[in-house]
Amino acid sequence: MRKLLPLLRLNRLELFGVNRFLNDPKRRRRARLLVPLMVLGVLGILGVVGTYCFGICYGLNWMGALDVFPVMMAAVSSVTVLMTTVFKASDALFQSRDFDLVLSLPIPARTVAAARMLKLYSIELAFALIVLVPAGGVYAWFARPGAVFYASYLLTALAIPVIPMVVASLIGVLTAFAGASLRRVRYAGLILSFLVMLGLVGGSFYLGSAPGSDVEVLVNIARTLGSMLSRVYPLSDIYAAAVVGGDISQLLLFVGLALLALLLASWLFGAVFVRLNSFINARRARGKFVLRAQRSRSVGRALVAREWRRYLASNIYVLNTAFGLLLSIVAVVALAAFVPRDMLDTVLREAGLEGPMFAMLPFVLAWMVALAPTTGSSVSLEGKSLWIIRGMPIPARWWLMAKLKLNLQMVLPVALIDAVALILALEIRGPALVAMLFLPALMGTFSALFGLVVNCKIHRFDWTSETKVVKQSWGASLPVFVVMGLVFGGGYLTARIGAMDHMLVPLLFAGALAVASATMWILVRVKAEKWAEGM
């Protein structure tokens, strides 16, 4: 414990870059601007989650199944933690540049492993609390529970992220291990990771699907929901007894299981920490290269090729940015190939959603293709090698635009394929066709440019793990929030405004995105040198 404390202090200082903000005058000034924005952003998210929770609670209360709500939210947080940890885990636990420094200290490897687990936990706890805090508040407002509920809810909230995090860490580390074992096969690790991710998404859909017919669901909603939740979240019975039932023994069991899982995982990772790290990070060196004539490229092509190599060298970077694209193709192909148009028409017509739903489809597609631009972290990923590109006799806009090209080379073909497939399958015509063709592609272009601008202005080159810039940086997060806001806002307005058969808003959005993208493109070209000087 005595040796764990300095490592935890290090974690605390490193977390979210707080220490740098406090001790670097330049960053302190930026922090003064960013912190209020961040607080507003968090409050906004809490507000949105709270509104959703209110809607769900209202419905459940009406059906007399309000007690299911805390379990449902615990399950949602757990699945979120599982999904967000699974590919971060290997990186966060093993691939850190300070590994040599930390392991050379007189601290046991199991303590280092425990500190890494706790660091992961603190990040996942923040994600879980974003769901659990508003959920608890809304539930308390509806159910008016006794004092024991608040204590149980707080304790379990701290414990909820642990087990999914441990499970995800095991899956993530095993995937990385398998990828490292197959390192002779190019991109084996990456393909394995994609398969695991698709398996997790598919599995969660399968487990979450309700058994029986719709009628049965309505007849006994609480029973059905309960059985669904216990399949998605095996600890739901213990959680329900502890939090809703006020059973202290179940509360202790729930928290105890979480603690046990954390201790076991720390022990397990600690026992194999050095060996596993050496294996996962080992690089093959054959030393048998025979020099032959080399192919030359133009400067522009060389810069884009470098971006592709950088991109494909990082599993977490690819998974974070390509998964939405892959999922969009899977979803569109599934819809186009397996759902007949007349069946879709009937379902939508009966639900009274035919007009707005079709008009909202471009926004759904736009969200999937534009959600996580590669550009949001591509500047930061230059890291300590930035000197190479900055020392080259090329204008800064060239290498910045190469980052944009990589993003567009990924997004635009997928947006086009998705749009054409949907247009053909759903026989979309007229203004809807224009929106379907242009809105996702323009949203992808906008998010790529926005990510680039944000990352040029807010970058971080001293990272010790790629996860920090790929998943936990402003450059990576801001475009996600902006795209989400645009898609939800656009979708909402589309549903509300019926002009042109609900197509007015998507078309206006497409036009606005084109203007915004052109403006940002000019901005990058004009400001590139100045921004690069500040890096």
């Binding site: 330049k26 690089r283 030359s296 470098r306 020392g391």
Partner: protein
């Protein structure tokens, strides 16, 4: 070849790293840049290479201002930093090819130069391996090959001998002399005074961001050794 005029750099937060530095490096000469830790050597070298902006003074490479014509300057110089942070996701040959593409070195020349320099540094066999698998010394060798293959008019090096084995260090010194014999110029920082004394035509000693001594090595050293002079200047 290199003309530093009244160069000053103050970092954000008020720390003045270099103050009014003026010196020139003529074609065909090797100039050693010596100073204690934090004296301003790396700041000066990074500014020459165009990777650090500055407000006061100017730096000219082959008559071009690094402030106003950075591209023209960068085409003439090759910079090697004190820590070889390279693209670990590339193999050695991919890194060299990237450099060659950006500097538009024709295919034939790049193969010939790669063969020559990689052979001299005994790195040819490892060029197909990922840079992530390289030792510090191998990365340093690869950085030097990348710099040399552009055939630069000016080499700007920050502690270039750190991490090199004795054979590689010897090879590199010979290459520096060849570059100078062809009319190129070398400006490098070092803490190894023995190397500076034997290799450099001229030395510049920087102390707390200000030039403390600059001139022909023999004249600056006088009757004593460079080490004695350096210690005397630093303690002053």
């Amino acid at each position: 070849m290199l003309d530093i005029r009244n160069f000053s750099k103050t970092y954000r937060g008020g720390k003045r790293a270099v103050s009014g530095l003026t010196l020139a490096v003529e074609p065909g000469s090797i100039v050693g840049f010596i100073g204690h830790n934090g004296a301003g050597k790396t700041t000066t070298i990074r500014a020459i290479a165009g990777v650090l902006d500055f407000e006061e003074g100017d730096i000219f490479v082959g008559g071009h201002s690094i402030k106003r014509e950075p591209i023209a300057c960068k085409k003439m110089l090759a910079y090697v930093p004190d820590n070889p942070d390279l693209y670990e996701y590339l193999t050695g040959i991919q890194h060299l090819n990237f450099i060659a593409d950006v500097f538009e070195i024709p295919s034939g020349d790049r193969e010939e130069r790669t063969r020559e320099y990689a052979g001299l540094f005994s790195l040819t066999g490892n060029l197909g391996d990922s840079i992530g698998s390289y030792s510090h010394g191998m990365k340093q060798k690869l950085t030097l090959i990348g710099a040399l293959m552009r055939d630069p008019k000016l080499l700007v090096l920050d502690e270039p001998f750190v991490g090199l084995d004795p054979v590689a260090a010897h090879v590199f010194k010979e290459l520096l002399r060849k570059i100078c014999a062809r009319g190129g110029a070398v400006f490098f920082s070092t803490h190894v005074l023995d190397v500076a004394e034997k290799l450099c035509d001229r030395v510049a000693i920087i102390r707390d961001g200000r030039l403390a001594a600059f001139g022909d090595t023999d004249k600056v050293r006088g009757d004593g050794s460079l080490e004695e002079l350096f210690l005397e200047l630093i303690e002053r």
